[in-house]
């Protein structure tokens, strides 16, 4: 019964504010909108304009029509970068989601030792991507790294110098870095599930696994969508970690779209094609997040509490 009360209270004041304080609330959105326009929309328009021009980064910007787009779309490097980006996205999602849900459900318990473990799990979240990449790069060095130091030959693989292994390392490090964050989201999600459901299930004789599959997972539906959106869209912009770890190498084995954009723009001085890739990145990100919202049904923002 207690769980029913809060949503009922929350609905009522909303209808009152809409009538009385609507103007002032819209005004309060201005700073956020201003930031969004200045640092989101305007640069985006700039990039769109740049993708139809030719610029080497230092000289004059000259209009070039569709030349940059033609160069990018006919470059065999683009499908490859798209494929690598997709691989990173899919694999890191497939590794992170189950691990995060399990850890999140585990940490949702209120036992004291779990609180202690939670602190340990969240440590990677405190480190910057560049620091993580530099550390892993040093640890995985086949000649001076962990394998050579501990004299364990199986650790002395050419981790970052062999295409498939390097991709595996990237997925591992990405997961290592972000699983704590998504566990935190799932921990919150699991704690929101009303205990009455578990109590009812227990009375019906459901075991722990059954409770997890039949109550926890379905109740986490929207949390999974939120977390997946963050993972999928976030993986489009992986740059710092991969740049420091492998620089897109060996060859172009881990060259994701964001890295391809950087290399074209800032190393090859081709700002036009680089901007075209940036536009492609934005479009893919928009389409993916829309798709994920669709997956969650029309009312993804609605409350998932019981009765809602």
């Amino acid at each position: 019964m207690t769980t029913l009360a809060p949503p009922a209270e929350r609905v009522e004041p909303r209808t009152i504010t809409r009538g009385r304080r609507g103007g002032s609330v819209a005004w309060m959105a201005l700073p956020a909108l201003g930031m969004f326009l200045a640092f989101g929309v305007i640069p985006l328009l700039g990039v769109l304009a740049l993708s139809f021009s030719s610029w080497n980064g230092i000289g004059e910007i000259t209009p070039a029509g569709f030349a940059s787009w033609r160069a990018v779309l006919t470059d065999p490097g683009l499908p490859h970068a798209l494929w690598v980006t997709f691989l990173v996205m899919a694999l890191s999602w497939a590794v992170q989601t189950p691990a995060s849900i399990l850890i999140g459900a585990f940490l949702a318990g209120h036992q004291r030792y779990r609180g202690f473990l939670a602190v340990l799990y969240f440590i990677p979240l405190l480190l910057s991507s560049a620091a993580i990449a530099i550390t892993y790069k040093a640890l995985l060095d086949p000649n001076f790294g962990l394998g050579a130091g501990l004299n364990m030959p199986f650790l002395a693989q050419d981790w970052l110098g062999e295409g498939t292994l390097a991709m595996g390392v990237v997925i591992f490090v990405v997961s290592w870095q972000f699983i704590p964050f998504h566990s935190l989201i799932y921990q919150g999600g699991v704690r929101q599930i009303p205990t009455s459901m578990y109590e009812a299930a227990q009375i019906d004789g459901a075991g722990r696994v059954r409770q997890f599959v039949s109550i926890t997972l379905p109740q986490l539906k929207y949390t999974i969508i939120t977390s997946s959106t963050l993972m999928v869209v976030g993986s489009l912009t992986f740059f710092d970690l991969i740049f420091v770890l492998t620089a897109g190498g060996p060859g172009d084995a881990t060259r994701v779209l964001a890295l391809d954009m950087y290399k074209r723009g800032f190393q090859a001085n081709l700002m036009g094609p680089a901007s075209a890739i940036a536009v492609i990145l934005v479009l893919i990100g928009l389409v993916l997040s829309l798709l994920l919202r669709r997956l969650g049904g029309r009312d993804a923002d609605a409350s998932q509490m019981e009765g809602a």
Partner: protein, 440 residues
């Protein structure tokens, strides 16, 4: 949110952008310039001994000129290459731009970003006549001089670890066939034949530079540089590319070379710790190997030689490649006052006697005529004379390819070189990709 609010915001953001634009095109700007409006800024590379010597020169200048100051800022090599381009494009260039000349300098010139120093050198012929004449080629674009050559001449040479050679009972290679014969010998002894910082990519490029030269002579790359159609498909080019892939396939390079960066000096560490027997690298690495390698250099364990000839090749074995000098340009966006400070710095402190001594003391050959007379007393006299000999006897001293080419072509080149060493493309595919960026 109604429409009026939106418009106010858009206007506000627009005005903000305009204001920001004013700020960045302002004259004295640049992250380096903090100490006063009139101060000039100067960006250069980190990494000793160069970093300390560059700072010392600036300090001497600032001490001697209390009214005009230079603020130095140092950046890591690979980061600097990006940073300086971005800064110049954004109108935030430092007054004094450190660089490698060649194709990058040309791109600055084409965008009117650097000062024409031709007349200044004509007025100050004493400054010009002190320096190696060969160092001016990479500072010259369309017969005008846009940079002051500075610092040292740094050819690429073949370093080797004498201790490792003694242990294995091998002799330094005298030909390409010797190299290929040494590879299984060292591998059998558990030592990598060659150290290589392959993630930096220009490190791999040094191998191609020498193979192209030894097989086909300097004309092969020159043709590509000058825009001759399909120049990369030259048979000598294909042979060089094939040979380097044979070396990769024979495990000629250290395990994991494609994830080692040169900026971390890990490639040098492999040589002086005896994990690798040889390393093809610029002579600028001598100073850091002396610093970090314990008694590796001081104990006489470091051997060095020019790259050996390739059987049946056309290139003169005295030829070399590398950096004929480093280069200082003046940003055309700087104020007149800053430009004057920079020119005064060029005339009075760049390669001053004190700086020349510092370069020699750290095992480098400054590009000043007659500096060989000062080398005899140095503890590194043998190495210095070796480098001086290579630089002055070379029939052809080619500039590093990635510096000579335009940034666009250089990036394509480095990209393809990385794939070539990864064996993910064939020599023919390499040539086909590179032919497409000829003249770009």
């Amino acid at each position: 949110m109604d429409r009026r609010h939106f418009f106010n915001l858009a206007l506000g953001a627009g005005a903000g952008a305009v204001l920001a634009g004013c700020g960045s095109s302002g004259p004295s700007g640049g992250p380096g310039g903090g100490a006063g409006a009139g101060a000039a800024s100067y960006w250069f590379l980190t990494g000793d001994p160069g970093e300390t010597i560059r700072k010392a020169s600036v300090d001497r200048f600032n001490k001697a000129n209390s009214d005009s100051k230079i603020n130095p800022t140092a950046f890591q090599n690979d980061a600097y290459k990006t940073k300086i381009k971005t800064a110049i494009g954004a109108g935030q260039a430092p007054t004094i731009i450190w660089g490698w000349g060649g194709g990058t300098l040309r791109s600055y010139v084409q965008s009117d970003q650097v000062e024409d120093l031709t007349s200044w050198f004509a007025d100050n012929s004493a400054v010009k006549d002190r320096l190696f004449p060969s160092s001016f080629a990479a500072a010259t674009v369309d017969d005008k001089i846009y940079a002051m050559p500075c610092e040292t001449v740094a050819p690429i040479v073949l370093f080797y670890n004498k201790e490792v050679f003694d242990k294995v009972g091998a002799q330094p290679p005298q030909s390409w066939a010797d190299i290929m014969a040494l590879v299984p010998k060292f591998n059998a002894a558990g030592v990598a034949p060659f150290s290589l910082g392959g993630q930096s990519r220009w490190t791999n490029m040094m191998w191609l530079e020498f193979l192209y030269d030894r097989i086909g002579g300097p004309e092969v790359f020159q043709a590509a540089f000058e825009g001759e159609k399909d120049a990369w498909s030259n048979p000598a080019s294909i042979e060089a590319l094939t040979k380097v892939q044979q070396l990769v396939k024979a495990n000629g390079f250290i395990k994991g070379f494609s994830s080692i960066t040169a900026d971390s000096n890990a490639d040098q560490a492999l040589l002086y710790t005896g994990k690798a027997a040889m390393m093809l690298h610029g002579t600028w690495t001598y100073g850091s190997m002396a610093n970090d390698g314990g008694d590796f250099v001081s104990g006489g364990h470091l051997g060095y030689m020019n790259f050996p000839p390739v059987e049946g090749g056309k290139g003169d074995p005295s030829n070399t490649v590398g950096n004929p000098g480093q280069y200082l340009s003046i940003s055309s966006k700087a104020t007149d006052e800053q430009k004057e400070i920079a020119k005064k710095f060029f005339a009075t402190q760049v390669l001053s006697d004190a700086e020349v001594k510092e370069w020699i003391d750290t095992g480098n050959v400054p590009i000043v005529n007659g500096s060989e007379s000062k080398m005899s007393g140095s503890k590194d006299a043998d190495f210095l004379k070796f480098v001086y000999g290579i630089a002055s006897n070379a029939k052809s001293f080619a500039q590093s390819w990635d510096q000579a080419l335009s940034p666009t072509a250089a990036e394509e080149l480095l990209d393809n070189i990385a794939k070539l060493f990864q064996l993910s493309i064939t020599p023919q595919q390499f040539a086909a990709s590179m032919n497409q960026v000829i003249g770009k």
